[in-house]
Protein backbone atom coordinates (compact mmCIF):
# COMPACT_ATOMS: atom_id res chain seq x y z
CA UNK A 1 0.00 0.00 0.00
CA UNK A 2 2.84 2.33 1.03
CA UNK A 3 4.78 1.27 -2.09
CA UNK A 4 1.78 2.01 -4.32
CA UNK A 5 1.34 5.42 -2.71
CA UNK A 6 5.03 6.23 -3.21
CA UNK A 7 4.91 4.91 -6.78
CA UNK A 8 2.01 7.22 -7.69
CA UNK A 9 3.70 10.12 -5.94
CA UNK A 10 6.92 9.41 -7.86
CA UNK A 11 5.02 9.66 -11.15
CA UNK A 12 3.61 13.00 -10.03
CA UNK A 13 7.10 14.15 -8.99
CA UNK A 14 8.50 12.98 -12.33
CA UNK A 15 5.93 15.08 -14.18
CA UNK A 16 6.68 18.06 -11.95
CA UNK A 17 10.42 17.69 -12.61
CA UNK A 18 9.78 17.69 -16.37
CA UNK A 19 7.54 20.73 -16.08
CA UNK A 20 9.96 22.59 -13.80
CA UNK A 21 12.95 21.96 -16.02
CA UNK A 22 10.98 22.89 -19.14
CA UNK A 23 10.20 26.13 -17.30
CA UNK A 24 13.95 26.70 -16.82
CA UNK A 25 14.53 25.91 -20.50
CA UNK A 26 11.98 28.46 -21.65
CA UNK A 27 12.84 31.23 -19.22
CA UNK A 28 16.55 31.12 -18.50
CA UNK A 29 18.38 34.19 -19.81
CA UNK A 30 21.57 33.25 -21.63
CA UNK A 31 24.37 35.68 -22.31
CA UNK A 32 25.79 34.18 -25.50
CA UNK A 33 29.20 35.74 -26.18
CA UNK A 34 29.69 37.55 -29.46
CA UNK A 35 31.16 35.55 -32.41
CA UNK A 36 34.43 37.49 -32.04
CA UNK A 37 34.89 35.86 -28.61
CA UNK A 38 34.87 32.42 -30.27
CA UNK A 39 37.24 33.57 -33.02
CA UNK A 40 39.69 34.74 -30.35
CA UNK A 41 39.25 31.50 -28.41
CA UNK A 42 39.98 29.34 -31.47
CA UNK A 43 43.01 31.46 -32.40
CA UNK A 44 44.36 31.33 -28.84
CA UNK A 45 43.92 27.56 -28.39
CA UNK A 46 45.34 26.79 -31.84
CA UNK A 47 48.38 28.98 -31.05
CA UNK A 48 48.94 27.12 -27.76
CA UNK A 49 48.65 23.78 -29.62
CA UNK A 50 51.23 24.95 -32.16
CA UNK A 51 53.63 26.10 -29.43
CA UNK A 52 53.23 22.80 -27.56
CA UNK A 53 53.91 20.84 -30.72
CA UNK A 54 57.01 22.91 -31.49
CA UNK A 55 58.32 22.41 -27.95
CA UNK A 56 57.75 18.65 -28.04
CA UNK A 57 59.36 18.39 -31.49
CA UNK A 58 62.39 20.33 -30.28
CA UNK A 59 62.79 18.13 -27.17
CA UNK A 60 62.44 15.01 -29.31
CA UNK A 61 65.05 16.18 -31.83
CA UNK A 62 67.46 17.22 -29.06
CA UNK A 63 67.06 13.89 -27.28
CA UNK A 64 67.49 11.95 -30.53
CA UNK A 65 70.64 13.83 -31.53
CA UNK A 66 72.13 13.48 -28.04
CA UNK A 67 71.45 9.76 -27.89
CA UNK A 68 72.72 9.23 -31.43
CA UNK A 69 75.93 11.12 -30.61
CA UNK A 70 76.57 8.96 -27.58
CA UNK A 71 75.84 5.82 -29.58
CA UNK A 72 78.24 6.77 -32.36
CA UNK A 73 80.93 7.76 -29.86
CA UNK A 74 80.48 4.58 -27.88
CA UNK A 75 80.41 2.33 -30.95
CA UNK A 76 83.51 3.89 -32.44
CA UNK A 77 85.52 3.95 -29.20
CA UNK A 78 84.27 0.99 -27.24
CA UNK A 79 81.81 -1.67 -28.36
CA UNK A 80 81.14 -2.63 -24.73
CA UNK A 81 80.10 0.94 -23.92
CA UNK A 82 77.83 0.88 -26.94
CA UNK A 83 76.08 -2.27 -25.69
CA UNK A 84 75.66 -0.78 -22.21
CA UNK A 85 74.21 2.49 -23.54
CA UNK A 86 71.89 0.62 -25.91
CA UNK A 87 70.60 -1.61 -23.08
CA UNK A 88 70.03 1.39 -20.81
CA UNK A 89 68.17 3.25 -23.56
CA UNK A 90 65.88 0.31 -24.29
CA UNK A 91 64.93 -0.12 -20.61
CA UNK A 92 65.10 3.38 -19.12
CA UNK A 93 63.56 5.53 -21.85
CA UNK A 94 60.18 3.70 -21.97
CA UNK A 95 60.14 3.77 -18.15
CA UNK A 96 60.77 7.53 -18.17
CA UNK A 97 57.94 7.91 -20.67
CA UNK A 98 55.51 5.98 -18.46
CA UNK A 99 56.51 7.91 -15.33
CA UNK A 100 56.08 11.19 -17.21
CA UNK A 101 52.62 10.18 -18.44
CA UNK A 102 51.51 9.12 -14.95
CA UNK A 103 52.78 12.40 -13.47
CA UNK A 104 50.95 14.43 -16.13
CA UNK A 105 47.76 12.50 -15.37
CA UNK A 106 48.11 13.17 -11.64
CA UNK A 107 48.85 16.83 -12.32
CA UNK A 108 45.68 17.05 -14.47
CA UNK A 109 43.56 15.46 -11.72
CA UNK A 110 45.01 17.81 -9.08
CA UNK A 111 44.35 20.86 -11.21
CA UNK A 112 40.64 20.00 -11.59
Amino acid sequence: MEENKNGNLDEVISEKIKGGIDFIDQNVKIDIPDISHFRLMVASVEEKKRQRLNKETFIFMLSAITILSFEILAFSNSFVSFIIIQSMAVTLLPLAGIIGAVRRKHKKVNLI
Binding site: K16, I17, G19, I21, K29, I32, I35, R39, M41, V45
Partner: protein
Protein backbone atom coordinates in the same frame (compact mmCIF):
# COMPACT_ATOMS: atom_id res chain seq x y z
CA UNK B 1 24.43 23.67 -41.91
CA UNK B 2 26.53 22.29 -39.04
CA UNK B 3 27.74 19.49 -41.34
CA UNK B 4 29.11 22.03 -43.84
CA UNK B 5 30.87 23.92 -41.07
CA UNK B 6 32.33 20.69 -39.68
CA UNK B 7 33.76 19.80 -43.11
CA UNK B 8 35.32 23.25 -43.44
CA UNK B 9 36.63 23.19 -39.87
CA UNK B 10 38.19 19.75 -40.46
CA UNK B 11 40.11 21.30 -43.36
CA UNK B 12 41.58 23.88 -41.00
CA UNK B 13 39.09 26.71 -41.41
CA UNK B 14 39.16 28.49 -38.02
CA UNK B 15 36.21 30.73 -38.88
CA UNK B 16 34.06 27.64 -39.49
CA UNK B 17 35.08 26.20 -36.10
CA UNK B 18 34.29 29.49 -34.36
CA UNK B 19 30.85 29.52 -36.04
CA UNK B 20 30.20 25.94 -34.93
CA UNK B 21 30.97 26.77 -31.32
CA UNK B 22 28.93 29.98 -31.43
CA UNK B 23 25.90 28.13 -32.86
CA UNK B 24 26.05 25.38 -30.23
CA UNK B 25 26.90 27.46 -27.15
CA UNK B 26 23.25 27.79 -26.13
CA UNK B 27 22.61 24.04 -26.43
CA UNK B 28 25.50 23.21 -24.10
CA UNK B 29 24.59 25.96 -21.62
CA UNK B 30 20.94 24.90 -21.45
CA UNK B 31 21.98 21.27 -20.93
CA UNK B 32 24.23 22.20 -18.02
CA UNK B 33 21.98 24.74 -16.29
CA UNK B 34 19.38 22.00 -15.76
CA UNK B 35 21.84 20.14 -13.51
CA UNK B 36 23.84 22.87 -11.84
CA UNK B 37 21.06 25.49 -11.32
CA UNK B 38 23.94 27.94 -11.02
CA UNK B 39 24.66 30.54 -13.71
CA UNK B 40 28.38 30.95 -12.91
CA UNK B 41 29.12 27.22 -12.87
CA UNK B 42 27.11 26.63 -16.06
CA UNK B 43 29.00 29.43 -17.83
CA UNK B 44 32.39 28.19 -16.60
CA UNK B 45 31.79 24.61 -17.71
CA UNK B 46 30.35 25.76 -21.05
CA UNK B 47 33.46 27.86 -21.69
CA UNK B 48 35.70 24.96 -20.70
CA UNK B 49 33.69 22.72 -23.06
CA UNK B 50 34.35 25.10 -25.95
CA UNK B 51 38.10 25.16 -25.21
CA UNK B 52 38.25 21.37 -24.90
CA UNK B 53 36.34 21.00 -28.19
CA UNK B 54 38.90 23.16 -29.98
CA UNK B 55 41.79 21.18 -28.47
CA UNK B 56 40.26 17.81 -29.37
CA UNK B 57 38.51 18.73 -32.62
CA UNK B 58 40.85 16.43 -34.56
CA UNK B 59 39.34 13.52 -32.63
CA UNK B 60 35.72 14.40 -33.54
CA UNK B 61 34.18 11.90 -35.91
CA UNK B 62 31.20 13.33 -37.76
CA UNK B 63 30.09 9.83 -38.81
CA UNK B 64 29.57 8.78 -35.18
CA UNK B 65 27.55 11.69 -33.80
CA UNK B 66 26.30 15.20 -34.36
CA UNK B 67 28.60 18.02 -33.30
CA UNK B 68 26.16 19.15 -30.61
CA UNK B 69 26.02 15.60 -29.21
CA UNK B 70 29.81 15.49 -29.07
CA UNK B 71 29.88 18.85 -27.24
CA UNK B 72 27.28 17.58 -24.77
CA UNK B 73 29.47 14.53 -24.08
CA UNK B 74 32.46 16.78 -23.37
CA UNK B 75 30.35 19.00 -21.10
CA UNK B 76 29.04 15.92 -19.31
CA UNK B 77 32.60 14.76 -18.59
CA UNK B 78 33.64 18.21 -17.43
CA UNK B 79 30.57 18.38 -15.21
CA UNK B 80 31.58 15.06 -13.64
CA UNK B 81 35.04 16.53 -12.97
CA UNK B 82 33.31 19.52 -11.36
CA UNK B 83 31.23 17.21 -9.13
CA UNK B 84 34.37 15.39 -7.98
CA UNK B 85 36.03 18.71 -7.20
CA UNK B 86 32.98 19.95 -5.26
CA UNK B 87 32.90 16.71 -3.29
CA UNK B 88 36.61 17.06 -2.42
CA UNK B 89 36.20 20.66 -1.35
CA UNK B 90 32.84 19.97 0.39
CA UNK B 91 32.02 23.62 0.78
CA UNK B 92 28.58 24.46 2.12
CA UNK B 93 27.56 27.82 3.46
CA UNK B 94 25.29 27.34 6.44
CA UNK B 95 22.38 29.62 7.05
CA UNK B 96 22.65 31.66 3.87
CA UNK B 97 20.93 31.43 0.52
CA UNK B 98 22.74 29.08 -1.84
CA UNK B 99 23.54 30.05 -5.42
CA UNK B 100 21.00 27.49 -6.64
CA UNK B 101 18.19 29.03 -4.59
CA UNK B 102 19.27 32.47 -5.82
CA UNK B 103 19.12 31.21 -9.44
CA UNK B 104 15.57 29.88 -8.94
CA UNK B 105 14.53 33.16 -7.33
CA UNK B 106 15.92 35.25 -10.20
CA UNK B 107 14.46 32.90 -12.80
CA UNK B 108 11.02 33.32 -11.22
CA UNK B 109 11.38 37.09 -11.44
CA UNK B 110 12.48 37.19 -15.08
CA UNK B 111 9.95 34.62 -16.39
CA UNK B 112 7.56 36.16 -18.87
CA UNK B 113 4.45 34.32 -17.73
CA UNK B 114 5.20 33.42 -14.19
CA UNK B 115 2.39 31.99 -12.09
CA UNK B 116 4.48 30.43 -9.31
CA UNK B 117 3.42 26.88 -10.14
CA UNK B 118 6.97 25.63 -10.69
CA UNK B 119 8.44 27.26 -7.63
CA UNK B 120 7.91 24.31 -5.30
CA UNK B 121 9.58 21.66 -7.47
CA UNK B 122 12.44 23.95 -8.52
CA UNK B 123 13.11 24.95 -4.93
CA UNK B 124 13.01 21.30 -3.92
CA UNK B 125 15.45 20.41 -6.73
CA UNK B 126 17.79 23.22 -5.69
CA UNK B 127 17.96 21.72 -2.19
CA UNK B 128 19.35 18.42 -3.53
CA UNK B 129 23.12 18.11 -3.67
CA UNK B 130 24.50 18.19 -7.23
CA UNK B 131 25.58 14.55 -7.13
CA UNK B 132 21.99 13.52 -6.33
CA UNK B 133 20.24 16.05 -8.56
CA UNK B 134 22.29 14.96 -11.60
CA UNK B 135 21.02 11.34 -11.82
CA UNK B 136 17.49 12.43 -10.85
CA UNK B 137 17.37 14.86 -13.79
CA UNK B 138 19.00 12.35 -16.16
CA UNK B 139 16.31 9.80 -15.30
CA UNK B 140 13.17 11.86 -14.83
CA UNK B 141 13.76 14.56 -17.42
CA UNK B 142 15.98 13.00 -20.08
CA UNK B 143 14.59 9.49 -19.59
CA UNK B 144 17.93 7.66 -19.45
CA UNK B 145 17.93 4.15 -18.03
CA UNK B 146 19.77 3.44 -14.80
CA UNK B 147 22.49 1.58 -16.72
CA UNK B 148 22.97 4.52 -19.09
CA UNK B 149 23.19 6.91 -16.14
CA UNK B 150 25.78 4.67 -14.45
CA UNK B 151 27.83 4.70 -17.64
CA UNK B 152 27.54 8.48 -18.11
CA UNK B 153 28.47 9.22 -14.52
CA UNK B 154 31.09 6.44 -14.27
CA UNK B 155 29.59 5.18 -11.02
CA UNK B 156 28.20 1.75 -10.07
CA UNK B 157 24.59 0.95 -10.86
CA UNK B 158 23.88 0.51 -7.15
CA UNK B 159 25.09 4.04 -6.45
CA UNK B 160 22.79 5.44 -9.16
CA UNK B 161 19.80 3.61 -7.68
CA UNK B 162 20.68 4.80 -4.20
CA UNK B 163 21.10 8.44 -5.24
CA UNK B 164 17.86 8.51 -7.22
CA UNK B 165 16.03 6.84 -4.36
CA UNK B 166 17.39 9.40 -1.87
CA UNK B 167 16.66 12.24 -4.28
CA UNK B 168 13.03 11.24 -4.71
CA UNK B 169 12.69 10.71 -0.97
CA UNK B 170 13.89 14.27 -0.35
CA UNK B 171 11.65 15.67 -3.08
CA UNK B 172 8.64 13.84 -1.65
CA UNK B 173 9.34 15.33 1.75
CA UNK B 174 9.83 18.85 0.36
CA UNK B 175 6.66 18.71 -1.72
CA UNK B 176 4.39 17.33 1.03
Amino acid sequence: MDEDLVLKAKMGNHEALAQLLYRNYEIVYKYLIKFVLNVNVAEDITQETMVRAIEKFDLYNAQKSKFSTWLITISQNLYMDHLRKVKRESKYIEGSITQEEDFIGRLSVQAKEYDGSWNAILNALSKLSEEIRHPVVLKHYYGYSLEEIASKMSIPLGTVKSRIHNGLKTLRKELE
